[in-house]
Subunit: 317 residues, 3 copies
């Protein structure tokens, strides 16, 4: 899409040279053909370092923009980005893509739906009522149980098992809100990637990224009814027990264990080999690896045990 067209869509003044914009991305991840956005002065350092071809930006931050980046001034750059995101959303299905490719030895139910552009590896089992979206790639020996839905552009590795009614790649929970309290959807144009040897339980939701990728690494085990927010990264061999979840953009190291009904806030980093007891609530980055936590607010498990003993003594006062 032409940058001049983008300026017109968001009603911003345009008086630079025109250029092709291929997508939206964050300040630090955008390349010279992408547009980014910023409205908060806490990102001044990122503005200075951006390689984005253009940025949706509020007037007061204009001075920090690199000379190689075109500024499109807007009162609410997050709202403008939301408007723009729809224009970069691909078709849900695209009949012009190749008919699906099914590898040797794979069994695909006649009652499954494999969209054009999908590529299924060898010796897979795809049961009835599964939906595999456009351009999805599935490795070898993978089993998709009935009623699994995989949205377009996602990737599932080899030797994976995804249990019934689980969803991979549904839209992350993203929207801008204006002063009237109205919401504008931010189209989630990223994807989700499930690496090899991952097992996911039933009725679980793995959201796709807004930009980039939600990543579930090799050997991960995810139980039933788990929520993985957009842009999360779950490290190798990590374990999410039933009804646990994470808000968006949190990075879990390898062999993290999230107990039943535990959860993490978004935009955090969790050190490898951390264990969280059932109902733990993580609200801060965990830097030291190998410890066990409990509670909400979170603390080390042994402290939590001690604290509960102290609390119970209140009954005797």
């Amino acid at each position: 899409m032409k940058l001049s067209e983008i300026a017109s869509i968001i009603s911003s003044e345009f008086n630079s040279d025109d250029m092709d914009i291929t997508g939206i991305n964050t300040l630090l991840d955008a390349n010279e053909n992408e547009i980014s956005f910023v409205s908060n002065s806490k990102y001044i350092k990122d503005i200075k370092n951006t390689k984005a071809g253009a940025v949706l930006i509020s007037k007061d931050l204009l001075e920090y923009i690199p000379t190689s980046t075109v500024a499109l001034v807007t009162d609410n750059s997050y709202w403008s980005m939301a408007i723009l995101s729809k224009h970069f959303a691909p078709l849900i299905e695209d009949e012009s893509l190749d008919t699906p490719s099914i590898g040797e030895g794979s069994k695909v139910s006649a009652k499954a739906e494999i969209a054009n552009g999908a590529v299924i590896g060898k010796n897979c089992t795809i049961l009835a009522h599964v939906y595999v979206g456009a351009n999805v790639v599935v490795g070898d020996n993978t089993i998709l149980y009935p009623n699994v839905t995989v949205y377009r552009d996602c990737k599932i590795g080899s030797d994976c098992i995804i249990h019934a009614n689980t969803v991979v790649g549904s839209d992350g929970f993203g929207f801008a809100t204006n002063g009237m309290g109205e919401h504008k959807k931010i189209y989630q144009n990223g994807n989700a990637i499930i690496e090899d040897d991952v097992e996911i339980g039933s009725n679980t939701s793995i959201d796709r990224a807004v930009f980039g990728t939600t990543l579930i690494k090799k050997g991960v085990r995810i139980d039933n009814l788990v929520q993985i927010g957009h842009n999360c990264e779950v490290g190798e061999y990590s374990v999410f027990v039933a009804q646990s979840g994470s808000a968006g953009s949190t990075k879990f190291g390898r062999n993290v264990v999230m107990g039943g009904q535990s959860a993490s806030a978004g935009h955090l980093s969790v050190a490898p080999f951390s264990t969280f007891a059932a109902r733990s609530g993580i609200t801060k980055t965990i830097k030291e690896s190998g410890k066990t936590y409990a509670g909400f607010p979170l603390m080390e498990h042994k402290l939590w045990m001690k604290l509960q003993a102290k609390i119970s003594r209140l009954l005797k006062k």
Copy 2:
């Protein structure tokens, strides 16, 4: 159904004029062609004000019934109502209804099922393995992702997006229990209405009303794995984050934010612009609008922060 027939079904004595009864409803919502029920003396005021044509009622409350309402005396009016509810349940599917109507420009997968009586608007996208039940009405431009189920008689507005494997209109959790601890299903003969511009995540459950309507108002955003109980009302632009939920009959004002894994008890009222942190548990009506809460028991967020600091000091004692 004839009132005399109802009396016979629940084994109640019948010696009034006969009449046609078209449905069951609450004391205050029932009209002169409907039957209601009451067994608890705390509803005496409602009995006095009911416009119901008939009421299932325990002997001790008979004196409060208006002269225009016929009383059917029963030992356990709630159990009797449960028995009766089955007789008012419509067929799940009804082949005598019109073949579905699909609006211009709408794309419906050959692997979706649209039941007779359904009316789909213009430019909708209905993907594989979606189920749209009898008499369901869907507005224009709405997207139903794969494996979405919409039960009969529900309505989905225009410009809505419902993500994969979400259910709209499943039965609310309703049953009567007798002295032996056995349960009798209360058929949920109401519906669920999703207004325009609503987005609902994946694997979410929105229950239909027992009578009347579960209502999700314009512009609401609901995330993945959320539970909305029967007869709830969610106000305009309210937000339910992943794994949050509400028990039945709670009314949320506009722009309420329910954090991740938060929940509300049933039969409450929540003031507009209230915000509930992750894991909040609402057990009382919130009257004042615009405040932020946390915890279970619930308190203002700043108090909760202070309280957690006080609690952590117990460790030093």
Copy 3:
């Protein structure tokens, strides 16, 4: 499978008489044609009492094995059992089984999938996009709403209602982990049985047993988004409210009520007529019946109320 073959699969020395092994089971449940496993000295009593034909066992526990049981020595018997479990897993679908049998008066959507070996009773309603696996037995008058998935070998009783997108019989969350933190799937070769007159809400997951059966007894009511772990037993007329759950192998007596978002740890026993308030967390066996609990850590509800009052007074200090 020959025991000599098993020894070869797990690289264990084999110098006993050969025999046929029909399955894997626990020390106490295994019969003379089954193989069991043990690596922990706390099960010495069970080793002494096992009737298993063979046992995967660590060297240090060899002395406790009955003379009628063959020992296969292995460094990590749990890991060896995981490897072995795959070899006892039946095919997901098996075309050599009989074509499905559908009882008189049952309506099965042309868009449902009923696998070979399944037997559906009389007057059932099976809606579009339902999946009924191999050898599944469904009783009479049962309703399976759209997108329900029932895995192979499970049983659903008569007069049951299973709401949309619910899964019965998905694999329990079972795996062995080695010293490198890598996981090996334990194939869940048991099943799940739902007895008569059970209603299960939408988007709920009932896992199949690793060995034996996950059992939901007569008259149980399970709401939406509930997790029932492998090998649980839920007693007659028990009630699980939305978003509640249980880890594996816990036995609930009759008429237990699990409030919204409550949960139980695994391997416990919960006395009949126990009631757990919303968000309760059960971590110990409940022996006395008929009491009401709350909190996490769990305590009697009246104590929890008192404790919350005490805690709130900390704010005044």
